[in-house]
Each structure stands twice: as C-alpha cells, then as structure tokens.
C-alpha cells in the first residue's frame, strides 16, 4: 500500500507488487459508508483476511505478507501452517521447482510447532532425500498427525545410509505421539523403528502405507497390527503378509479394517511365494465384511503357483505383467468379491471362457481393463451383456477385440454401448 500509514509502521514493499491494492483502494466503497472516502484496508478484520489467505497459493500469500506488518502477522497465523508439502528437487535431476530454502528455514524456526499435516516430495537425487531427513530431524516440537514421504521418481530414500534415515524418522515418531497417517513406501524403515512408532502412537495410528520397505520383516509388521488397534488402512508387500497378521487384524479389539493393499513383486525369476490359509482370509471377512483388498501382481507367468487356489476376498486386482489364461480362469473361480480387474497383458490366446466365467461368478465386478490380450467380439458382447449396467469402467484396448462372424470392429461399439446404457468405444493407440 502506497498511500497512508501501514499498521504499526512503514510499508514493507520493496517494489513488491501488492495485490492491486492502491488502485482498488480508491474505488471500493464500503457498504453503508456515509462519506465518499477511500476504504482503509487496515480495518479489514483479521478473520476475513485469514479466509482470503487460505484461498491464496503460497507464493501469492508470501507476496501479500510483505505489504504491511499486519498482513505479515496474519501470514504467520498458526492456522495457515497446519499443512505443508515440502518439495525437494535438484535442478540436475528434476524439472520441478523446489520449496525455497529460506522458506524452509522460516517454517522450522517459526512454525514447526504448528505443523500437523506434512508431506515431503523428493526427486531421484540423494541430496533431496537428505534434505528431507534434515528437516525431519528438526521437527522436534512437532505433533504431527500426518506424515508422507513421497518419491516422485526413483526412490532416493533407499540410497541414504539406513541409520541416517531411521534417526530422522524416529524424531517424528517420538515427538508426535499422535500420528494418525504415515506413508513411508520405498524407504529403509526397519523393525526397530516400527517398534518406536508403535510405542508412541499406537492409540492414534489409522493409516500405514509401507509398500516396498525391504528392511521390515513379518514380525515387525505383526507388532504394529498387534498394538495399533485403530489401524484401518494398511499397504505392504506380500512377503510381510502372514496368517498371524491377518488374525491380528481381525482380533476383537481391532477396529474394522477398511483397506488392505498388497504388492506381490518378484525379485528374482522363479521365486516362490508362501500361501495364506483360507481360514485367515475368512476371519478377515467375518471381522470386516466391508473391507477392500487391493492386490497388485508383478510376477512372471510361472510364479503364480500358490495364488488363486482357494477363495480369496480380493476386491481390486491388477496384473502388471503378463498373466496366463489359466490363472485368469482361476480368478473367476476364487474371487467372488472382485470389483475391479485390470490386466496389463495376457498373450495371444482368446480369453473368452475366462471372461464369461468372471461375469458369472464375480457379481460385484464394476470395472475391467484389458491391455495386450485377445477376446473375440462375440464373447466380449456376451460378457458385457451379463455384467450389464454395473460396469462403470470398461477400458479395453482396441487391439484386444478380435472380429468374428458375428461382429466386426466397426459395429461392436454400438452393441456394447447398448448393453452398457452409454456411449462406449475401445481405447485407441495412434497407428501413425
């Protein structure tokens, strides 16, 4: 503001573009004002200013804070510092901009005790992961409710010395004591640090995402399930899953589980996987009848031996690599709760029977995606007819559909649209 005195002293502009205030000042009339004088923005109540600031992105807010001391004070209101996402990127490894180091310093000095919902987005460089740990170690006065460590490209947290990472993380675990949501996928977290987590946050922990944390053992995660009875959402890799874990999650003292996400990843070709007893799954379903089981498979075709032999309560199933016709046939027989099926690739034998069986037996199926597969047009139409309008997502690559004597490629979409009750086309890829 160029005109008038700012509250408490000189204006802090150094050629800073205020939000158009000087011109607007002269034109705005206060409702019910008797005199035709310009409005004094100093008199804007702080609550209103706070609401306005909440709509502004951080950068604009920061500019606004330099207008005058009053606005600067509002800028630093604790309420505005509850959520923060630290973006840590190096120019050499990312196209994204990073949170300014000065801003980071300011947050740590003035606002660390206001922070409640925090996430770190790091790129693939080790420096970014180190910077994240650095900040974490300083959050001593923090009582975080949410913490997310997110790698946007290669998982750089894994490249840090394990002890360095663990000590930074445990600062938060120990000081927060009210962690409700924790996302630490692709990090070197280990069993002892999980114990620390549990020791301090067992009453509050509701969500834990730790896919691909290779230093954690089944015992480590079992400890979490045993102590954190409020846990509602859990994501982990298959090697951590055990019958004991499922039983712990279904114990009487445990709340209903909402969502369990399991990644089944092959480290070496020909790897063998343990099986989970049907009784353990049954216990889960009895305890939490509404829970969603999301399973992502990244296996070679010949590694599916132990899977889909008995009924499994999976709701969302993704095959990230080629999966055999035979396994897809077993899916139809063993997954009555299936809601979404996504198949990246299968091969060159038609999946007609398998799809029909899935339509018959998976009565809750509402989403299906097929990539590099083959289905004859008639079987596909049959499938859609049987599922009917419950199919809200139908994403089929154009190459999947094989024309036969009943339907060609040019008319199949009308048939399918008819049965779906909306206009539908297969997904296309450029043929240029």
């Amino acid at each position: 503001m160029k005109r008038g005195q700012a509250r408490g002293g000189e204006a802090e502009g150094r050629g800073v573009p205020g939000p158009g205030a000087p011109e607007a000042c002269k034109r705005v009339r206060r409702a019910g004002a008797e005199e035709d004088g310009p409005v004094d923005w100093r008199l804007l109540p702080e609550e209103i200013l706070l609401i306005i600031f909440q709509y502004l992105p951080l950068l604009d807010r920061a500019w606004a804070s330099r207008v005058c001391r009053g606005w600067n004070d509002t800028f630093h209101t604790p309420q505005l510092w509850r959520c923060f996402e630290f973006e840590l990127n190096q120019p050499a490894s990312s196209y994204l901009k990073a949170t300014h180091p000065d801003l980071i310093k300011q947050i740590i000095t003035r606002h660390s005790n206001h922070l409640q919902y925090v996430s770190f987005k790091v790129d693939s460089s080790t420096e970014s992961a180190e910077a994240a740990c650095d900040i974490l170690s300083q959050l001593v006065n923090c009582s975080l409710k949410t913490l997310g460590l997110i790698s946007t490209a290669r998982p750089s947290f894994m490249e840090l010395p394990k002890s360095h990472f663990i000590s930074a993380l445990t600062v938060v675990f120990v000081n927060s004591k009210s962690l409700s949501s924790l996302k630490i996928d692709d990090t070197p977290v280990d069993d002892p640090s999980l114990k620390v987590l549990v020791a301090n946050n067992s009453d509050t922990l509701k969500l834990l995402k730790m896919s691909s944390c290779p230093h954690v053992s089944p015992a480590g995660i079992l400890c979490v399930a045993d102590q954190c009875h409020g846990l509602r959402e859990l994501a982990l890799n298959y090697h951590l899953l055990s019958d004991e874990l499922l039983l712990a999650l279904s114990s009487e003292r445990h709340v209903h589980l909402e969502h369990l996400r399991i990644d089944v990843v092959s480290e070496t070709p020909g790897q063998t996987f343990h099986s989970i007893k049907k009784s353990s799954w049954d216990a889960m379903v009895r305890h939490s009848p509404q829970f969603n089981l999301v399973m992502y498979y990244f296996l070679y075709e010949n590694e599916f031996g132990p899977f889909f032999r008995d009924e499994v309560p999976v709701t969302h199933l993704y095959f990230g690599r080629s999966v055999s016709k035979e396994v897809l046939g077993r899916v139809g027989l063993t997954c009555p709760r299936l809601v979404e099926l996504v198949v990246c690739a299968n091969g060159l034998r038609p999946l007609d029977e398998e799809l029909i069986r899935i339509a018959e037996r998976c009565k809750h199926l509402s989403a299906i995606g097929l990539g590099e597969c083959e289905v004859s047009c008639s079987a596909f139409v049959e499938f859609v007819k049987m599922c009917g309008k419950r199919l809200s997502q139908l994403s089929i690559m154009e190459e999947v559909l094989m024309p036969d004597n009943q339907y060609g490629l040019d008319d199949i979409h009308w048939e399918v649209s008819k049965h779906l009750g909306r206009v539908w086309f297969p997904d296309m890829m450029p043929t240029w």
């Binding site: 490894s93 949410t146 990244f298 080629s322 979404e340 989403a367």
Partner: protein
C-alpha cells in the same frame, strides 16, 4: 500486366494435387518453383542424416519432374525473410503461392512473409492441402476447441462432408503457357545441395530402404493398393516379424513431406474399398493412419507449447526424472533389452519403425521403465524418424506417455514379453543386433537369464559383449504405476481405490458436437484451458493480402505462453467417476 509467379515448396513436395502451384501457373507469364534451405541451419538443427537425405532426394525428384516440363527447381540458400526481398526484386515477382502450414511456428513465419509480400506489392495465394480437412473447421465444429479424444475427433469427421477431391498433376500445357528462365549457372546457384555440402560425412542408410520423392511415392501407393486388393481384406492384419521390417508399401514419410497427397491416398483407398466390397461407404477405420495424423495437426494448430510439458494446457505435469545417462542408453540402443535396442537400431539406421515398435520404446522411456520425459524421446525421434513432424511427433509422444488425451496408463508394454509375443522367432532381433543372432529363441529376449553355457555358445556374454539390462522391469513398472496414479489422483481429486477411475473422463465424448449452438457450458469440461483459435475460422485461408492474423502467435521457442501461471497449466476436468471425494487436507 505481367504476372511473375513464385511457388514456394516447404512440404507438399509434389506436382500432383497442388492447388497452390496451379494458382501460380494460372495466367502467369513466368513461374519459378523455389525451395528455401539454410545450409548453416542444417548443421545446427537436430535433424539426422536420413531425414536430410530423404529431403534432398525429394527435391531432386521435383527438379527432375520439372525438367520434363521445361522448368527447374530453384533451391535458394538462406532464410525466407532474407531470401524473399531479394528474389522479389530480382525476378519482379507479382504473385507468391504456397501450401498452408497449420503448425503454430509455420503460421507465424507465413504471416510475416505475407506481410512482407504485401509491402512489395506481391499477391499471396495459400491453399490448404497438407491435411484432409481444415483444422480450424474441425475446431469450430467442436465448440471452438480441438477435440481431445480420438473418438470425439472421429465423431466430428463423420459429420463433415468428404475431403475436397485432389487435383490432377501439372501438365505440359499448363507449364508451356508460362516460361521459366533458366540461367546457365542454374545448377551452381540453385541446384539441390549434396549431403556433403550440408556437412554430413556419412551417407546415412546405405541400404536405401526409403527413397525420397514424389515418383517413388506414387509407385508405392500403387503397390500399397495392389496389396490391399490382393488381400481383399481391409481388416487389421496380424502382426508378425515381417510387419516390423520396413515395407515397400509404407507411405508415412511420403505423407509427412507431402510427396504424396493425403487426399490422393484417401480417395484411392476409398474407391478401392467401394469397388471390392460393393458397399456405399467405407468405415472411418479404413483411414486410421490418415485420421491420426489429422487429429494431431488439429490438436496442435493453436498451441505453440504443444511440444513441451511446461506451459502446455493439455499436458499433464508429471515429475519426470532428469537422467542424461539413461536417456543416452535408450537413444543409442544400449539398454540391455534386445527388443528395445533392436527397435532403436532400426530407427537410427533406416529412419522408420512400426507403430507398435514406437509404443514399446516410448513406453519404456517414459511411464514404463525409465521415467524420463517424453520431450526427450520426442527430440530423438525428431532427429531420426522420417515421418516425424512437429504436431504428429509431439502429439504421439504425449499420447504414448499418458501425458494427455485422457489415456489409461495401466497397460504397460513389457520390454521382454511384448517383443516375444510379437515376434517369437526373434528374427527382428537377429537382424538388428547381429551380436545376439546365435541365442536360442528362449533367451534372445532376455539374454541375461541365459545360463553361462548358452551365452558362451552364442559367443556373446552379457555384461561384456552386450550390456546388462539397465533396469529391473518388474520393479520399475511397479514404481511407475504408483507415480502415475499419484499424479492422476491429485489431478482428478480421486481418492478411491479403482486404478481405472484415477484417470478423469471428459464430458466431450458424451455430447454430440455442436456446430454453431451455444450449449458450450456442457462441454467446457476439460476444454476450458485451451486457448481460442487465433485466426477467424476460415475453411480455406486463401485470401491474398490479409494482414498477419491474430494476437496469439508466439515463437516456437523462447517467449513463454500466457498460460504459464501454475494454476492454469493444471488441466481442468469434470470428474465423471462416481464416489469422488475431495481431498481433506494435505495441501494448503
């Protein structure tokens, strides 16, 4: 009044179906056909030797054809802005004709030339023949916004009348009416340069798979049609190893340079279909290749930032990794995955790869394995691929990397499995990576898994004679699907569990296209952020001395678009998925 015409060849390197050239000849006393080329630029631009060779061959072919008509091609060295004032004076030019270029950079350049021509009192005539339809017309029919899905695009094209019929080729008679003065030192001053003159030491593809020029393109067209007729089948062919090799009937580079008119191709296909099938009208799918090309030209015509992520309103902002070393391995065919390496080798050697091969390598570079920006891949293709031009290349890369056009990202092409399913015998690998030719079929797609005895017997040890695989595909694809999901869920505010529903759908598909009705509100979803067209919707921008159109024109590189503010680059979607929940907190 004496009429001295100059026809300016840029693309459209042909004498058939060339209305602009016909206009140059129409009632003219003299005519000169020019191509403007800056040899210095040749050295500095990222254009590989195969593309230059193809271009030079096309120019030679034009020159030869013009010779038969008692004329010549004038290859003028320099930049258009310098060349035209010079030749306008020297040749007393009164009329300048050229084919319309719909790309933003082209429009800007042409606007400047038209303005300059006006100042010199030169009439300009422009004709739209590089695409089947006028991109502006399609945009107009789609509520003043380019269609963002191919389905929508097809729906609009379905409502259009057929493309304008192609014109026949220039005749001797037409040329006789206008003289071309050829000087004795024409070859010296205006001859087609050689590769050496442009600074290339090598000759590029010695096997000469793709020969440039209109003559070659017509021969290929005939072979292409013959083959279709022989097969009597217009359906999608089964993919085999043969499909991957360069086909003697392949036409894409000729369409890109305009050696073959897209309308000639269109009508030939159409007529053949009607004759063989005895049906009245062929389905749109018959013209698949042509329509994809058309789609991307339309999508890019008003978007100067179409070829980059930042500042591009239709491109999803994805946190790609910056990794020059990994990029080099991919570009040079040293990834350790024979399928990928063979494809990149064929690309570098010959300048063309099948579209499935393009999907495979594009997926590998971006969302499949390396998580490197599509812009980097686009630049490599720009250098090496004969049929890559600005719109189609950028558009395809955005499509294949799931950065635009509302693509599902779940289907990942496995660098081992996809290749093996396409060509089980490994013939393609053996041809382009001879080092691996003695590997048995079982291991040729994944040599690192072969036991030592097999590697030794094949005389090719992984890690010594052939690189180890640069990534673990299972791990990379797992990571990357998470990344894509993160990006898309943030975009669509989708917090549910469905992988498919993470990608927002867009309203435009459900609604019929409006030609002039103002029910724009229902179709603003997903389209609000594209800039309105800068030129008034003209179906044929043929007006002579109109002033430089529009205010939206920006340089190809340099000045940032008006839309660089972070908020505007986020694509706005109306989320159709059921059960959308707003983010609770997490971000301020």
């Amino acid at each position: 009044m004496v009429v001295n015409s100059v026809h300016w060849f840029r693309k459209g390197l042909r004498l058939h179906d060339n209305p602009a050239l016909q206009e140059a000849l129409n009632g003219a006393d003299t005519v000169r056909c020019v191509y403007i080329l800056d040899p210095w630029f040749a050295g500095s631009a990222i254009v590989g030797v195969n593309r230059w060779r193809f271009l030079l061959e096309s120019l030679e072919d034009l020159d030869t054809s013009l010779r038969k008509l008692n004329s010549r091609l004038f290859v003028v060295r320099g930049q258009p802005t310098d060349v035209f004032p010079r030749v306008f004076k020297e040749w007393n030019v009164t009329r300048l004709t050229f084919e319309y270029d719909s790309e933003p950079y082209g429009k800007e350049r042409d606007a400047a030339i038209i303005k300059m021509a006006h100042e010199y009192g030169v009439e300009t005539v422009v004709r739209n023949t590089h695409t089947l339809y006028s991109p502006d017309r399609i945009i107009e029919m789609n509520n003043h916004s380019p269609p963002l899905t191919f389905k929508r695009f097809q729906a609009i094209v379905n409502r259009l009348e057929l493309p304008r019929k192609p014109l026949p080729t220039v005749t001797q008679e037409q040329m006789d009416r206008c003289r071309t003065q050829i000087s004795d030192n024409h070859d010296e001053r205006y001859g087609v340069p050689s590769l050496e003159e442009l600074g290339f030491k090598s000759q590029g593809d010695r096997t000469h798979v793709w020969k440039g020029g209109e003559t070659e393109s017509m021969e290929r067209l005939n072979k292409h049609l013959d083959r279709k007729a022989w097969v009597a089948n217009f359906e999608r062919p089964r993919i085999t190893a043969q499909t991957l090799f360069a086909s003697p009937t392949g036409l894409s580079p000729y369409l890109r340079f305009g050696c073959l008119s897209c309308r000639v191709f269109y009508y030939n296909l159409r007529d053949l279909y009607i004759k063989l099938r005895r049906r009245s009208s062929p389905p749109l799918s018959l013209f698949g290749q042509l329509l994809w090309r058309e789609f991307f030209y339309t999508a890019g015509t008003n978007n100067p930032n179409f070829d980059r992520m930042e500042g591009n309103p239709i491109c999803v902002q994805i946190p790609w990794d910056h990794n020059p070393e990994a990029l080099a391995k991919w570009a040079e065919g040293r990834t350790g995955f024979p399928w990928i390496d063979a494809i990149m080798t064929q690309l570098r050697q010959e300048g063309w790869i099948h579209h499935l091969a393009r999907h495979a390598v594009a997926c590998f570079l971006t969302r499949g394995d390396l998580w490197i920006s599509w812009e980097s891949g686009m630049k490599v293709f720009e250098e090496l691929l004969l049929d890559a031009d600005w719109s189609v290349n950028a558009g395809s890369w955005m499509w294949l990397s799931c950065s635009a056009f509302f693509q599902q990202f779940f289907h990942c092409y496995c660098p081992v499995g996809f290749g093996r399913r396409t060509d089980p015998t490994g013939e393609y690998i053996r041809r382009y990576i001879p080092k691996l030719k003695d590997y048995p079929n079982r291991y040729i797609y994944e040599p690192w898994n072969a036991p030592e005895s097999v590697q030794k017997a094949a005389n090719c040890i992984v890690g010594v004679d052939y690189p180890k695989p640069m990534v673990n595909h299972a791990e990379s694809s797992r990571l990357n699907i998470e990344r894509m999901k993160q990006v898309y869920q943030q975009l669509s505010h989708y917090r549910g569990l469905s992988l498919l529903a993470s990608v927002p759908t867009i309203q435009e598909e459900a609604e019929p296209p409006m030609s002039d009705d103002s029910q724009a509100s229902s179709s603003t979803a997903g389209q609000g952020s594209t800039p309105p067209p800068s030129t008034p919707p003209n179906s044929e921008p043929s007006s002579p001395t109109a002033a430089a159109p529009g205010t939206h024109i920006q340089r190809k590189r340099g000045l940032p678009s008006e839309l660089t503010s972070k908020q505007k680059t986020k694509v706005k979607h109306a989320n159709q998925a059921k059960g959308v929940e707003q983010i609770i907190d997490e971000k301020q």
